[in-house]
């Protein structure tokens, strides 16, 4: 709790310095958040080049509008709101993301990622998350699975399970009700499991 408070205090100081035209403060804000924002965008849009460009656009928009930032929400949720909105708009324009076939990405059970995935989905899984993280192919399967979710569900799942936001922060970023966060997250996780099971079959 103290750490979060300190992070927020740092943000407030940096934002105030940005208001005064301090370019060093702008750079510090970019360096502080670029990896987290890039990761969230990448998991939602699933394309590294597009994610890089959207991250860049996000920071340009943040800097251009930082004069209008009133501090009613934290800078953290405000910045992620810009990032997620830009990304979701981009996804809506590029509908090809939602139409890729499941069959094309089926993984053989006897392959390394197939075995890992089967282990993950088994009822008595004791797989170390570090092992999953080290397998690039498995990670790619997960990213492709996320792409099968609709945009709204994907955004909630990514913000919760990848960025680690709490429900209130997600509601703030997406400007939705807390109940909507709960239902979208529930449906998203359920669908994701179904997708992964379908990939294994």
């Amino acid at each position: 709790m103290t750490e979060v408070a300190n992070i927020n205090l740092d943000d407030a100081v940096l934002v105030r310095q940005c208001w005064q035209g301090d370019s060093a403060a702008i750079e510090r804000l970019i360096l502080k958040y670029q990896n987290r924002i890039y990761n969230v965008i990448l998991k939602i849009c699933a394309d590294p080049d597009d994610a890089a460009e959207l991250t860049q656009d996000t920071f340009v928009k943040i800097i251009e509008n930082i004069e209008n930032f009133q501090g009613r929400s934290s800078f953290y949720t405000w910045a992620f709101r810009i990032a997620v909105n830009l990304t979701l708009n981009y996804c809506r324009r590029n509908v090809r993301i939602g139409f890729s076939s499941l069959d094309a990405e089926q993984v053989p059970n006897n392959s390394q990622p197939g075995r890992l995935l089967k282990e993950l989905l088994s009822d008595d899984s004791s797989l170390d998350p570090a092992v999953v993280a080290q397998d690039n192919e498995l990670c790619q399967i997960l990213v492709e699975s996320l792409k099968k979710l609709d945009d709204a569900q994907r955004a909630v799942v990514v913000l919760r399970d990848i960025e680690g936001m709490n429900y209130n922060q997600i509601a703030n970023v997406l400007d939705i009700e807390l109940g909507t966060v709960r239902s979208r997250l529930s449906r998203g996780r359920k669908k994701l499991r179904q997708i992964l099971e379908a990939i294994l079959q």
């Binding site: 750079e27 970019i30 360096l31 670029q34 990896n35 924002i37 890039y38 990761n39 990448l42 998991k43 590294p48 890089a52 991250t55 860049q56 920071f59 340009v60 800097i63 251009e64 509008n65 930082i66 004069e67 209008n68 993950l120 989905l121 009822d123 899984s125 998350p129 570090a130 999953v132 993280a133 080290q134 990670c139 997960l142 990213v143 996320l146 799942v157 990514v158 919760r160 399970d161 990848i162 680690g164 709490n166 429900y167 709960r182 239902s183 997250l185 529930s186 449906r187 996780r189 359920k190 994701l192 499991r193 992964l196």
Partner: protein, 329 residues
């Protein structure tokens, strides 16, 4: 397993630590008594772990430089003005609007002042003095001590033209003799009628003279008053001046005000000269020539009609006027 509405939502919230303490205890009780619910919780936890285990990818290193370059390009090309620029623009626009509004108000005020100076009636000095006199003594005490204003000297020339020169000159001479003390005027020789009459007299004498001269005004073809100003050689010329107008000009206490009144009369007379239909008015006026005009009352007693006006001190003699009469033929 009992049918529980929104079980997945409840379990997901349990996993994420987003339940109130009472709900958390309730879910723990359910998990302890129902294996299927516990199994469902495991599935959801796996899914969460599954996503959480994904590695964090580092952002491309050129993002910072690209952001700087993008901002610089936008600023240079003016593609998208920054919010700060928009605020400056809004302030400029507001300032210009306020300036325009102030200018409009100023213009309206000046116009109103001009219109008022033209339309508003001149407040006569006499009644004001009378009102002040009638004020209660207590108020008089509160006011500052009255200032005695010495009337400023009037200096000018009156040029008259007539086609009945001898009669008019004779009338003027008589009028001067009757109304102005002898030491206050230098009469022209009756024979040399072109010589001017030079008056240095008091306003009281002058007003008497003017009242008398008013009787011959209808016999004049033109009457022009030249009012000297403070600038040497510059005069205000009032053409077609009447005796009343001369009185109005001369009786002003202040020389500035006197010149203003003279100018006003000059403008008015000039406008009246050029008014359409003036010929008709003149024709109408001419019809009165044949009408019977009752003679003015004449004193029939043994008293002389001319009374010698006592001489005054030099300080009272503030009217310097030269009267010239010429033949209009």
């Amino acid at each position: 397993m009992k049918e529980i509405p929104n079980l997945d939502e409840l379990l997901n919230s349990f996993i994420d630590g987003e339940l109130a303490p009472r709900q958390h205890t309730e879910v723990q009780r359910l998990l302890a008594h129902d294996e299927k619910i516990a199994q469902r919780l495991d599935e959801l936890q796996q899914c969460k772990m599954f996503l959480s285990s994904m590695p964090v990818v580092e952002a491309p290193p050129q993002i910072l430089e690209n952001v700087k370059a993008s901002l610089a390009r936008r600023t240079l090309l003016g593609e998208e003005p920054s919010a700060f620029d928009e605020q400056i623009g809004a302030r400029h626009l507001l300032g210009r609007k306020l300036f325009a509004a102030a200018a409009m108000l100023g213009l309206v005020a000046v116009l109103a002042a001009v219109v008022y100076s033209i339309v508003a009636p001149t407040i006569p000095q006499g009644p004001i003095a009378a009102e002040r006199k009638s004020m209660p003594a207590t108020i008089d005490l509160a006011e500052p001590a009255p200032v005695i204003v010495v009337a400023a000297q009037f200096s000018g020339r009156l040029e008259l033209q007539t086609n009945t020169l001898p009669a008019v000159v004779g009338f003027i001479n008589r009028a001067i003799e009757e109304n102005v003390p002898s030491d206050e005027w230098i009469a022209s020789d009756q024979k040399e009628i072109r010589e001017p009459h030079s008056l240095i007299c008091s306003s009281e004498s002058f007003n008497l003279l003017l009242a008398r001269l008013d009787d011959i005004w209808s016999k004049l073809d033109s009457a022009t008053l030249f009012v000297d100003t403070e600038v040497f050689g510059r005069k205000v010329v009032v053409e077609a001046v009447t005796a009343d107008q001369i009185a109005g000009i001369v009786n002003q206490d202040d020389s500035t005000r006197r010149i203003e009144v003279a100018r006003d009369f000059a403008v008015l007379n000039n406008i009246a000269e050029h008014l359409p239909g003036r010929e008709i008015l003149t024709a109408i006026d001419n019809t009165t020539v044949g009408l019977i005009i009752p003679p003015k009352p004449v004193l029939t007693s043994n008293h002389k009609t001319t009374t010698k006006v006592p001489s005054r001190t030099g300080a009272d003699k503030n009217i310097h006027l030269t009267i010239t009469v010429t033949d209009s033929k």
